[in-house]
Structures are given as C-alpha cells and as structure tokens.
C-alpha cells in the first residue's frame, strides 16, 4: 500500500524547547494511533503534518505534495484540533455551515453536508443552540463534525475522545472505524492506551519528542505487561495485609506510608495480584477504604520503558 503521509526527519523546536525530533514516518490508509503522555509531542506532530507550523528540519508530504502553505490540499483533510475553542456566539449549525462555506460548496450542499455531519455526531437536536451553552461532550462532538463535514480522505483527530462520556466515546470510536473501512486515512492521537487500542492495531509511541516505538499494538502491550505495577491500598490493618503478600513470588516489594494507614505494593503480575485481594479482605476482615494504582498511566510506563 502506498503511504499517504510521509514525514522525513521532522524536527521542531519552540525556542530552546524541543517539540519533535527526527521523526520519519510513512502513514498508510487505515487508522494510525499516535500515543504518548501529555507534552510528548503528539500535537506538535499533528500540527506539522497539517501545515499549521513549520518544521525546523525535515519535510512533510501528503500524496507527494508539501503541505506547508499549500492550501489546495486542505479539501482532502479534516482536522479536529485538541483545544476546546469555538466561535462561541455561533450556533452549532452555523459553525459547521460557516466552515463548509470556506470549501466553496453551494448553499444546498452546505445545508446537506452540515445536516449530515451533525446527525452523525448526534447534535441535530441541539444544532440551533449557541455553542456557549454546549456541554464539554457536545463541544467535542462538534469539533469532530466540522472535521468530517466535507467528507475528507484524510482525517486527523487530536485527542478526539477528551471530555466524552463512555457512550460518546464508543460512538466516536465506531465512527472512526467506519471511516477506516471506507479506505480513508485516519490519524488519532491520545494519551490513553485503551482508547487507541479500541480503534487500531497500528500505533506510534511518541515520548519526549521522539518516536519511541512503532508497530503492532501487541508489541506495545507486551512491553507494558513486563512493567512492574505499584498498587496502593488504604485499609484498616496494612501490616497484617502486608504479611499475606510476602509469600507471593510476583510481589516484589511492600512499603508503608508515613501515616501507617496504607501500603504500596510493587508487583510484576497485576492480574494475579488483584485476584488475590478479595479472599484476603474477606478472610482476615480487613476494611478497605481505597485501592489505587498511582503509576497506572502512560507516563509511568514510558518512564519505565526508557529506563528512568
């Protein structure tokens, strides 16, 4: 398959701050997930491939043509930005229709396309309300609507699931998959692994402005599975609970916090560890107040993978 988007040695600095460093990618039709913790360089990458900002080094081409200041390419690109910004005094309908106007569609086409896009993101009922009165989820869906309204071949979505409820997330994920099955090229960024996992197997891991890994999601999953997890348990008798973990070979360490009401357990098999907990709580009558996983986020996994 021919790559649609090609980046060569793409690098970007904001003054002394590194935004992106030496990123060379070939993106083919289908869904590509850009995964990385906040501040990793995902948005910078998306801005570079949509020509919003200029690379210090390297090039971006879409279907063989350079993107920067080449506005003709934008009829085939739909971009959903990360920032929650709108022309607040417009209605949802007016917003989508106004942006469609800039594609030089006829009035009838604008009406049809705006109607269709708002229907897809389920905003038809609220289309005549001013954007200022929209909820966070509705605003997010409106951003997606403006990105798909002109039926582009390439759809670029920067954190599209932010602020959506679980149902809204599922709908957007289904929509993205539908577009992919139509042969479109879709790039989705997120800092949440399960979100990307629900959409695609093709994944690019970005960390500190560099492509850290790319490939199949299973490869990434395997990397993460080997990462020891830290679990915090706040309970009535932490020392007694700790004594029960000592015999398990998948428990690597146990620490108590200064207030003596919780313990931190490091384990290399999270599933086994969680399976062990309920019978322990019941059998030894331990009252549990809270179980959290302080490092159960992408930043911690990345830190572990890069050896921090």
């Amino acid at each position: 398959m021919n790559p649609v988007i090609v980046t060569n040695n793409l690098s970007k600095w904001y003054g002394n701050v590194l935004g992106l460093s030496d990123v060379s990618l070939k993106i083919e039709p289908g869904i590509t997930g850009i995964l990385g913790p906040n501040g990793a360089g995902k948005s910078t990458f998306l801005k570079l491939i949509t020509g919003q900002i200029k690379a210090n080094i390297g090039t971006v081409t879409i279907n063989g043509k350079k993107i920067r200041n080449n506005y003709t390419l934008f009829s085939m690109i739909g971009f959903c930005p990360e920032q929650d910004s709108f022309y607040e005094e417009m209605t949802g309908w007016k917003f989508v229709a106004s942006l469609l106007k800039l594609f030089h569609f006829s009035a009838k086409e604008i009406e049809e396309r705006a109607e269709k896009a708002l229907e897809i993101v389920e905003l038809t009922k609220d289309k005549d309300r001013v954007i200022r009165s929209y909820s966070r989820g509705m605003r997010q869906r409106l951003k997606v609507a403006q990105a798909i309204a002109h039926e582009p071949e390439i759809i670029i979505l920067d954190e599209p699931l932010n602020g959506l409820d679980p149902l809204g997330r599922r709908k957007i994920i289904r929509l993205i998959k539908e577009y992919s099955s139509e042969g479109k090229t879709i790039i989705v960024s997120s800092h949440v692994l399960p979100e990307i996992e629900a959409m695609t197997r093709k994944i690019v891991l970005i960390h500190q402005g560099k492509v850290f890994a790319q490939g199949d999601i299973h490869y990434i999953r395997d990397l993460i599975e080997t990462h020891p997890h830290i679990i915090s348990i706040k309970c009535s008798n932490p020392r007694e609970l700790a004594s029960k973990f000592i015999h398990e070979d998948y428990v690597l360490s146990v620490h108590f916090d200064s207030e003596q009401d919780s313990l931190l357990v490091e384990t290399r098999n999270r599933d086994k560890f969680f399976a062990l907990l309920p019978p322990l709580f019941v059998n030894f009558k331990i009252e549990v107040q809270e179980i959290t996983s302080p490092d159960d986020n992408l930043q911690a996994v990345f830190d572990y993978l890069v050896g921090k």
């Binding site: 904001y14 948005s43 949509t50 020509g51 919003q52 900002i53 200029k54 200041n69 506005y71 003709t72 390419l73 934008f74 009829s75 690109i77 971009f79 930005p81 920032q83 910004s85 709108f86 022309y87 005094e89 417009m90 007016k94 106004s98 942006l99 106007k101 800039l102 594609f103 030089h104 403006q146």
Partner: protein, 271 residues
C-alpha cells in the same frame, strides 16, 4: 497559463467573498459590535441634547451644519474612527490567535491572504455602517429645520467620504499591527492617540507622516470654525494626492499584513 492564472485569481476573490460573508455575519452578532454600535451612537445623543437645548431655549445663533461639522471634527475624526478601526482592525488576526480558532481557518482550502482580506473587508464594512448610521442621524437631528437645503447633503457626503476613507486606511494599519504584535491594541493606542495626535501639528512636511493629515486635507473648507485649533498648522495636500496616499497606505499595510500572516507561526498561549 493565462487561463490558469485567471482561474486562480477568481478562486482567490471568491475565497475573500466567502470569508467576508462568514465574518460579516459573525461580526454582526458579536457582543463587541453591539457595544461599539452603542459607542458610535454617542454623537447622536450629543446632537439630540444640543437640539433639545436649542428648541427649549429658542436659541438659534449656531446653525445645524456648524454644530454638525464640529461634531465630525471632534468626535468622529479625532476619536470614533480611530477607536473603531483599532478594535476591529487588530482583532482580524489577534482574536483568532487569542481565541485559538485560527486552526479552523488555516485548515480550509483558502489562502491565508484571503482570510486576512476577507475578515478585513467584513469588519471595515461593519464599522463603516456604524459610523454612517450615526453620522446620518446626527446630521438629520441637527438640521431638522433645514432638511430641504440640498447643499447641506453635499457637505454630509463629503464628511462621509472622508470618514469612510479614514476607516479603510486606519483599519488596514491596525490589521497589520494585529498580525505583527501580540499587544497590538496597546501599540495601536499609542499610534492613534500619540503619534497621530502630535505629528499632525508639526509644520512642514513632517505632518505628512500622519494619516489624519490626508483626511483633514479632504475636509470641506469651512470645517469647524469653533474647533479651528484642530486644523492648526495644517498645510493641506491636494485632494488627488490625499486620496492617492490614503489608498497607498491601505494597500501597503494590507499587503504587509498578508505577508506576515503567511510567514508567521502563531503559537497559542498555553502551548
């Protein structure tokens, strides 16, 4: 080749038209416009008060057109057109950057110049309408007992022409400032109420570095006797030169604004 160029030019003009239509409609509904529409009605309120005083005191020593000329000189030329051009001109670019909505425009298949020119045109037409409505009302109120004197309408048109040219020219300058500087309103205030207010009173050719010099050169000869100090040291340029210079300044600053907007990278506040 020529046909391709013509097609590209037609597309460019049509893009300006689309941007104009979007932002004219958006601008009409904006809170800022409502506020400035009210501000632009201040001369009307003043004209109304003066007229009422004249009617109730039966004092008619000052003619309607005389008072009208002075209102134009003091309120419109020295204040209102500057303020309107400043707040609408600088916002052409800065409101997109500050509101982080620029991305929606720069990811559409239209050139960056058409965004600037379309928004500039939309906002300029809006403020011209604001000024024109206020000006006509002020004129009608102050000349209520002389409405059949068609000579007066010629004077009204002349003032209208000067103010429209002023708005076109100042807005282009402030549009440039908005694309160039972050704190463009502040620099705009310094320019409008500092540079323009001072330079115009310098003798010789120095005053020609102020836009207001060319506007004052176009005023009817009998303008504002009471506020004649506003014409102090004025060595008017010819009508032709003044019109040419105002259009030249407009074209230069719009060109620079388009060039800057094309080259510059706008980074949003929290990035």
């Amino acid at each position: 080749m020529a046909e391709k160029k013509a097609r590209t030019f037609r597309y460019f003009l049509s893009s300006i038209g689309e941007v104009f239509s979007v932002f004219f409609s958006l601008g009409k509904a904006a809170r800022k416009t409502k506020f400035f529409f009210f501000v632009s009605f201040l001369p009307v309120i003043i004209a109304l008060v003066i007229k009422l005083i004249q009617v109730f005191s039966e004092q008619t020593t000052l003619s309607g057109i005389f008072i009208f000329s002075n209102i134009v000189m003091v309120l419109y030329l020295q204040f209102l057109i500057l303020v309107l051009a400043l707040f609408f001109g600088t916002s052409v670019c800065s409101e997109e950057v500050e509101g982080k909505t620029l991305t929606y425009l720069t990811t559409r298949p239209i050139s960056k110049s058409s965004i600037i020119l379309g928004k500039y045109a939309a906002y300029t037409v809006l403020i011209i309408l604001m000024v024109a409505i206020g000006l006509v009302f002020s004129f009608l109120i102050l000349n209520l007992n002389n409405l059949l004197n068609f000579r007066l309408y010629k004077i009204l048109l002349r003032y209208m022409f000067v103010l429209v040219l002023g708005l076109i020219c100042y807005t282009s300058f402030f549009t440039f400032l908005g694309t160039f500087l972050k704190k463009s309103v502040l620099f705009g205030l310094v320019f409008g109420f500092g540079w323009e207010s001072v330079i115009q009173y310098f003798p010789g050719s120095t005053q020609k570095f102020a836009i207001v010099h060319y506007l004052k050169s176009l005023l009817p000869v009998s303008s504002g006797r009471r506020f004649s100090f506003l014409l102090f040291q004025l060595e008017p340029s010819s009508v032709g030169t003044s019109i040419f210079m105002l259009f030249l300044i407009t074209a230069v600053f719009l060109g620079l604004a388009c060039l800057l907007f094309f080259l510059k990278e706008y980074i949003f506040e929290d990035q």
